[in-house]
């Protein structure tokens, strides 16, 4: 399966930001919220310079980030807020372990790519990602290869979430 979308490079001083933690993504003061739709407006609400992300993001967009994205708390909200915004995928150099699970279980595509810094991609560029091969293309040309999703990860993604996946096994 392939998805297309517009890239947001989450950068600071021209470099993809590392260690974006769950409090930066979705601050603990909004944890009482249990409705997913309501979480959209708080995505990156505690990440300096990115507080207006929910207004700028469009359905289908793709996020690029550095190492250890989503480290910190186990809050599903930090995944749900991006689903509510319609984000298509997050590509990072690496993810916090719990964050990665939470994203997979919710059907939000997350891909790891060590060489993400090397990509000749700017914020606003349209790219295409193939989840099975990990290929990332711009203007039809492969510019990067991310680690493809593993089998179970991909199956949960296709099913939509862990609950629906489990019904089918």
């Amino acid at each position: 399966m392939k998805v297309k979308g517009r890239v947001w490079k989450i950068e600071k001083d021209g470099k993809l930001m590392d260690d974006i933690d769950t409090d930066m993504i979705y601050h603990n003061k909004y944890l009482h919220i249990t409705e997913q739709e309501e979480m959209a407006k708080y995505a990156f609400s505690n990440l300096e310079g990115w507080q207006d992300f929910p207004e700028k993001a469009r359905k289908g967009d793709i996020i690029f980030a550095g190492e250890n994205f989503g480290c910190g708390s186990s809050r599903q909200h930090a995944v749900d807020c991006f689903i509510a915004l319609g984000i298509n995928a997050i590509v990072a150099k690496s993810f916090g372990a719990i964050y990665k699970r939470n994203a997979i279980n919710s059907g939000l595509a997350v891909l790891e790519c060590n060489a993400l810094d090397m990509a000749e991609v700017e914020t606003g560029d349209e790219i295409e990602i193939d989840f099975e091969t990990g290929e990332i293309k711009k203007n039809g040309i492969c510019i990067l290869k991310a680690k493809p999703m593993n089998k179970i990860q991909y199956a949960i993604y296709l099913a939509g979430n862990l609950f629906r996946y489990a019904e089918g096994i």
Binding site: D23, M24, N28, T34, R75, I152, F163, R164, A166
Partner: protein, 412 residues
């Protein structure tokens, strides 16, 4: 030969356990907190036609984030959990009982060799007793409540060998901070096993401190092979015969040696737990508030260390000293001895048991520009309020409360 995590997993799955494999893992102990608990319930009601769960005797709610609720939203969420628990016959460790990951240790529910999950990213604290514990999001936890299992990618294991014996005074928190500094980026998504003389002798409280910060090291879990103290503790508490899981001649992804002979009081500067410096290299930082507690340093041994330093003294003027025992059991032990009196007389505010500052809980947040020394595990921007949080041991926190500046215990 298998590592500790591989051995525990193989006892809990029919699939082949091998690093990199994804397996279905049976979970012995399933918990949710007041944070995310309501979302767990909502997931169950939304995705399943029957509201009943797989095994209520293995399932618990532990309220520790906002205890008692100081907002109506949190109170509503707790009530959603209580009502669901009543219908299902699930036991609730309600507000006041303490931090869930500690409660399951004290109650003898989490013991060496078991698998456990909770909606707490520090649930891997159970590595301190040789159990597999893992924090998970509300989808995973709802799924585990319903089915008793979840999928897990078997991680590689890194063996960490502590070399040497410290000559200067040190605490388990200093050891944990050293590990965050040394292991960051090297153990991301890995299990860790800790070895060396320094951990063999570590008390259960010290083991909890070290294991609690594996999340900040980026690891999945850090196992400390149970010693006699841990085994005795459980033999008494659980009434079960305890069979700890040890690794014999295991194959590791890599081994990392950490020299601890120069270990000394350390402190993590904001805004990252890995921003670790020696306390003696941090000068002229005026402190406004001090927080003693959290799942990292909320045991009675931590309180004892603080009381010893504060005994017969008063904290500096205009310092707020917030003390929060991890559990009600710790509270009782503090009352039995002189600890409570000494902390009170020194000027501390002593609150009931819960996560407190780490979860915007009951003891208040820091304001813009406020400097806080905290014994907790995270100092990310905004985590404990709008101010700057420095992470340190109970000893350093107590010494800093006395002088009003970041101070090592050897300087007072």
């Amino acid at each position: 030969m298998p590592t500790i995590i591989e051995k525990i997993f193989q006892m809990h799955t029919e699939d082949k356990v091998e690093a990199g494999n994804t397996i279905w893992l049976n979970i012995d102990l399933r918990t949710a907190r007041d944070f995310a608990g309501a979302k767990v319930v909502k997931n169950l009601l939304k995705h399943y036609s029957s509201e009943y769960i797989e095994d209520a005797t293995k399932t618990f709610f532990t309220f520790d984030c906002n205890a008692p609720a100081n907002t109506i939203e949190y109170a509503n969420n707790q009530q959603i959990c209580r009502e669901f628990a009543r219908k299902n016959g699930i036991k609730v460790y309600d507000v006041g009982r303490g931090i869930g990951s500690h409660v399951v240790i004290e109650e003898g529910l989490a013991y060496p060799g078991i698998t456990a999950v909770g909606t707490d990213s520090h649930f891997n604290i159970l590595g301190s007793v040789g159990a597999f514990g893992q924090g998970m999001g509300d989808i995973d936890i709802a799924f585990v409540f319903k089915t008793g299992k979840t999928w897990f990618e078997v991680p590689e294991t890194v063996k960490v060998n502590f070399i040497g014996t410290p000559s200067a005074p040190w605490s388990a928190k200093d050891l944990a901070l050293l590990c965050v500094k040394e292991l960051r980026r090297k153990v991301l998504g890995r299990a860790i096993e800790f070895y060396g003389e320094i951990v063999d002798e570590l008390s259960l409280a010290g083991r909890i401190t070290l294991a609690s910060m594996v999340t900040e090291m980026g690891g999945i879990i850090g196992f400390i092979p149970p010693n006699r103290e841990v085994i005795n503790f459980y033999s008494k508490r659980s009434g079960k015969e305890i069979k700890p899981v040890y690794a014999d001649d295991a194959t590791y992804e890599k081994e990392i040696d950490i020299d601890v002979s120069n270990l000394e009081p350390l402190i993590a500067l904001p805004p990252s737990p890995s921003n670790v410096k020696r306390v003696r290299d941090v000068h002229d930082i005026k402190v406004d508030s001090v927080f003693i507690g959290s799942c990292t340093n909320g045991r009675v041994e931590d309180m004892q260390a603080v009381a010893k330093i504060l005994k017969g003294k008063k904290i500096a003027e205009n310092i707020t000293l917030k003390v929060v025992p991890a559990t009600r059991e710790v509270w009782r032990e503090m009352m039995n001895g002189e600890i409570m009196k000494e902390l009170f007389n020194a000027g501390a505010i002593i609150s009931h048991s819960a996560c407190a500052g780490c979860a915007s809980g009951q003891i208040g947040m820091t304001g813009e520009g406020e400097v806080q020394v905290s014994t907790s595990n995270r100092n990310f921007k905004g985590k404990q309020g709008a101010g700057d949080t420095y992470l340190a041991s109970p000893e350093t926190a107590a010494a800093s409360a006395l002088t009003g500046y970041i101070t090592g215990v050897d300087e007072i």
